[in-house]
Structure formats: structure tokens, C-alpha cells
Assembly symmetry: C2
Homo-oligomer: 343 residues x 2
């Protein structure tokens, strides 16, 4: 029921996932609304979708706490419960992010050994892709959180990309170990120790100016910094495209040039298009929960659904549990050596 495009776009995405990726979805929401939407695709074989009814709708403005208490029969509750009960492989929503996180925590629970689950996403770089986490689930972090992000991010990147020992970097404002704020300086010490132990392949600080050039496979940061990074990128991109488009509008020569450059411009904007990434996994809860962009189109939703299936086939939850339980004692030991916040 969620997302800026509402059920119409979500259903179109599920239809696309069924056709293009042969992934079968369970549609959760108001049965009547869903059936009306499905009637737009009369050629679909019967039984392509299961529908689970959910009465209540969570709006983009609903506060997470209110959702937890008040809207127990929302599509988010019902969908996540299907995952918990093993009736669905994973959950995808383009709806209210705060509500999806809160319900995922309550219904799926955390993986044992993880204090704070994190939102992670792949971003394109000049040499490939980087996974960055957290993107906003935890706005104030302790070093221990960043260590756990490093362990979870490594598992996820490795599973998605087939890289055995992905590099892990700490997003920072300088290359040297002594650079940064209180959090990054303390985290650097502990991440180095974790790297020495072989639990992650820590490669040190990733300076923000290198992030899109030659950063690390996995880049960890607190959720405030991660969100700023993601959204500033979006903002620069919008300004750049609008500035070039504006020039083209008033300059007939540029207009002709743009036609010739179509492929070049398209290749870049395709690279920068978040729609192809499907969604951002909420890593650290004990089940697959994927957060889509509010303005996800049908293509993005189809990719999000495919992502659920892919992660489930690769047994991400089993692998996260195994990896975290292996390093949990060591993480806790490291935490005791952390110095108190110097404020």
C-alpha cells in the first residue's frame, strides 16, 4: 500500500518481477484495491500472486511509535509476520521507512550479537560499487555499532558480489588514523584491531573526497553521516542535470550536441539511477527486510522483489547469524577497551 505511487505502481512492479524475473510475490494490503489493480493485467496466468489482506494503511506521516502500537493490521505488520512465520522469503516496502524499521525490529527481532541493525545500500563508484552503511537507522552511534556494521556489510557484499574478503573502510575527513571526530577516531582503533584479528579486511579511513573514486568495498559510518552522504550526492546530481538541461534549452547547438551525446549522458544517469538498485536492506534483523525508495517506480520495485529472492536463495540470514556469532565475543572484548566519550 505504500510508496509515493501507491498500490498501482507497487502492483505494476510485482507484475514486472513475475514476468521479467519469474519471481512470485505475495501482495499484502487491501484485497479489493489489489484485485482492481490486477485486473489491469488480464493476460497474467491465474495463481501468479497470492494476496494477504491488511485493513490498515500506514501513511508517510505516521510516527513509528504510533504504528507499532496502533496499526497492527497494516500491510507492513502482516507482510513482516509472513516472513517471520516462514511463509515468505523476504519483505519489500516502498512505504514509510521509519515504520518498516520499527516493525522489522519488533516482528523479526535482531540477530543475536547485533545491537543496532543498519540500512545499507550499494552506490556506484569509478571502480565498481561500494556498500555504505548506516544510512539513517542510527543517527548517534558508538564505535561498537560501526564494528558490527563492518561485519554485516562484509557478509552482504561478499554474498552479492562473490568477493571473498571485501575491503572495509571508515568514512572520514582524512586519511590518517588520527583524523576525524571523536567517534571515528575511537572507531578506527577498534576497527584496526578487528582487522588484525582477521574478522574483517579493514583498510583504514576512506576520505570523503575518495569515496566515489577508489573507496572501499564496504564503507561504515554513523547513520547521520551516511544519510548526509547519500542525500548530498542526490542533491549534486540534480543540480548538475538541471544545470546542463537549462543550458541545452537556451542553446540550439547544445541541443544538437545532447542528441549526439545521448548514449554518454544515458550511461551516466543510468549508473546514478537508484531505481536499478531495488532497495536498501535493513541488515541485522532476523529476516529479509528491504526498504525501497519512496519514489520507487515499477522497475525499482521489481528489482527490490528480485533482491528479496536473491538474498533468500543465498541464505543471507543464515550467513549473518553465523558470522556475527563467530565474532561476537571478540567485538565485546574490543568494546571494553574503548575509551569513554570525550565530551
Amino acid at each position: 500500500m505504500g510508496g509515493d505511487g501507491g498500490p498501482s505502481v507497487v502492483v505494476r512492479g510485482a507484475v514486472l518481477a513475475a514476468k521479467k524475473y519469474k519471481v512470485k510475490s505475495i501482495l499484502v494490503g487491501d484485497t479489493k484495491v489489489i484485485e482492481d489493480e490486477l485486473r489491469k493485467y488480464p493476460k497474467l496466468p491465474p495463481g501468479t500472486f497470492e494476496i494477504y489482506h491488511a485493513d490498515e494503511v500506514i501513511t508517510m506521516d505516521d510516527q513509528p511509535a504510533k504504528v507499532l502500537r496502533g496499526k497492527r493490521n497494516s500491510s507492513v505488520h502482516v507482510g513482516l509476520t509472513l516472513v517471520k512465520e516462514g511463509l515468505a522469503s523476504g519483505f519489500y516496502s516502498a512505504g514509510n521507512t521509519g515504520a518498516v524499521m520499527a516493525c522489522s525490529l519488533m516482528i523479526l527481532r535482531r540477530i543475536s550479537g547485533i545491537d543496532r541493525p543498519a540500512i545499507a545500500t550499494m552506490l556506484p563508484t569509478m571502480i565498481g560499487e561500494s556498500l555504505i552503511l548506516d544510512l539513517g537507522a542510527n543517527v548517534d552511534c558508538k564505535p561498537l555499532n560501526l564494528l558490527q556494521f563492518g561485519v554485516m556489510g562484509s557478509v552482504y557484499f561478499s554474498l552479492l558480489k562473490g568477493v571473498e574478503s571485501p575491503t572495509v573502510g571508515l568514512l572520514n575527513i582524512g586519511e590518517e588514523a588520527v583524523k576525524g571526530n571523536d567517534l571515528t577516531k575511537r572507531s578506527h582503533v577498534m576497527l584496526s584491531e578487528l582487522g588484525k584479528e582477521g574478522a574483517i579486511n579493514f583498510v583504514g579511513n576512506v576520505e570523503a573526497k575518495q569515496f566515489y573514486l577508489d573507496g572501499a568495498d564496504v564503507v561504515v559510518c554513523d547513520g547521520f553521516t551516511g544519510n548526509i552522504t547519500l542525500k548530498i550526492t542526490e542533491s549534486v546530481g540534480k543540480m548538475a542535470m538541471s544545470s546542463i538541461k537549462g543550458q541545452i534549452k537556451y542553446d540550439p547547438l547544445a541541443w544538437i550536441g545532447a542528441l549526439f551525446m545521448f548514449r554518454a549522458l544515458r550511461s551516466f544517469s543510468k549508473k546514478a539511477d537508484y531505481h536499478q538498485y531495488g532497495g536498501a536492506p535493513f541488515l541485522g534483523v532476523n529476516g529479509i527486510s528491504i526498504i525501497g525508495h519512496g519514489s520507487a517506480n515499477a522497475f525499482a520495485i521489481a528489482n527490490g522483489i528480485k533482491m528479496c529472492e536473491h538474498l533468500s536463495k543465498k541464505d543471507i540470514i543464515g550467513k549473518l547469524n553465523a558470522e556475527v556469532s563467530e565474532s561476537v565475543d571478540y567485538l565485546n572484548d574490543l568494546n571494553t577497551m574503548d575509551t569513554a566519550p570525550s565530551i
Copy 2:
């Protein structure tokens, strides 16, 4: 003596400032090296430059603390002392930023009422320009610091742009007052109070995704977040240009297109070129001190020198002192109502 290009580029910049902007500079550094450089410009009228000799050179790797104790006869020390003694209107350096900040603090001292001076810079946006501060002088901030940044930023923006009551926003990850991390939530409360008092024109949170679209005239944040914002912008820009260039290289049609689009692409890259901004003022010390980009070219250095003269003519230091002393009591009152850090 500083900057990636060394004295040769700095002297070329000073020559450019003299020719283009009619601004006379005092060159501080190794007299012999400077005179050798000046010999490259035989047509310069005699007396275009004064030279002050400084024996010692601060390298990019020197730690600020070491510089303060050990290199008392560096060009940074000598130059800032000229400002303090009223023999120069302002100081500009493209050298070691940490050393310039440390020496500025020690020699010029802080403006009374300012706890932490901040580095500020103008960034282009879709609707004009935004001043953002702090960019890295203070990686861990208290709300009081952000309030002082707001007051100083308003004075600076107003003076540079002729805007009477510039809008001040708080860089954050959401629009609503309740969004953000501990620092931004506490700062929002205090900035709102300061706005009600009329000391600044506070307009609330500026979400990162709106920063380059329709942010505020002045945007305040801690130095870690500001540095990440600036450097991620640089990183995205480099990736975008390189991605488009890469396509052009292998695609003859795109190559032809780029010729037609020359003006459009140039207009954008000119807008994004930090060289035209000269440098970033270190706001809050009791004298003009401008920090140039390490890789500043002669054009950037000339603009930095012009900036010193412009700010001096507009009496920025007098105006900052007046404005800060007017709001200092109120700032301190606000600080007492701030809640303790919740860590």
C-alpha cells in the same frame, strides 16, 4: 611558500591580483626564492610588492602543535603577525590548513564571545550561493558552537552579498524539528530561540537533499559533517566528469556532441570550480585569515588576495565584533538551557 604548486604559483597569483584587481600584496617567505620568481615578470613596475623574509617552511605534513612551538619564523607566523600589527589588511595561504588555523588562533586571537572559529565557504546552488560552516575546524561541536556559526555566517553573507537578513538553516537529515542526531536536535531548539529573538533569520532544517536546490543563505553544521558535505560533492563531481569523458573517448558521436555542448558543459564546470572562490575565511579570529585550497592555481590565489582586500574594506572584523558582542549574553543564556549530551 605553501600550496601544492609552491612559491612559483603563489607569486604568479599575486602578480595576477596586482594586474587584474590592482591589489598590492606583501609576499612573505624566503626572499631569495621570491625574488627569483618575481624576475619572471620583468615588466612589473618596481614597488609592486613588498617582501618580508621568513626563514622556515611549514610542510603539508607538519603537525599544527609542532608548528606553534617550533617554527616561529615561518611565512605563516610572519604573515599573520603583519595582520595583527596592522601592517597588512589580511592573510592568505594555500599551505597547511591546520598550521594556518593554529597560528591564526595564537596570533590573531579569537573575537570576544566566540568559542570556536570556523572555516566557511560559498558553494553554488541552483538558486544562487550558500555559505556553509564549519568545514572542519571543529569536528565535535556543541549547540553553542553552531549558534555562533549562525551569527558569524550571517554577518559574512550579508556583507558579501548585500542581503540584509540572510536566511540561516541547520544542515540535517530531515525537515522536521524532531529529526536528526543529538547535536542537531539540541541545536534546532536553540537556533529557533535565537531566531525568535531576531539575532538571526533562522528558517529551520535544511535537508541534505535540498542543499544544492533551495537551501538557505547560510547553512550551519559541525565541522565533520561540513567537511563530508564538501568532499563528497567534490567526489561526485569528479566521478561525473570522468564518466562522461570516458564515454566521449570511445564514442565518436559523443565526441562531436561534446563539441556542440562545450558551452553547456563549461558553464557547469565553471560554476563548480572552487578556484573562482579564492578561499575559505577562518571566521571568528580577530583579523582576516583566508585558507586557500592546497591545489589552488594562480587564478584562485589572485581571487583569495582580492577577497582579503574586499573583506578588509568592508570592515568584516569590526562588524563581526559588533554583532557578536550584541548577542553574546543571549547566546550564553541559551547555552544554559541546553540539555546535557545524551550519550
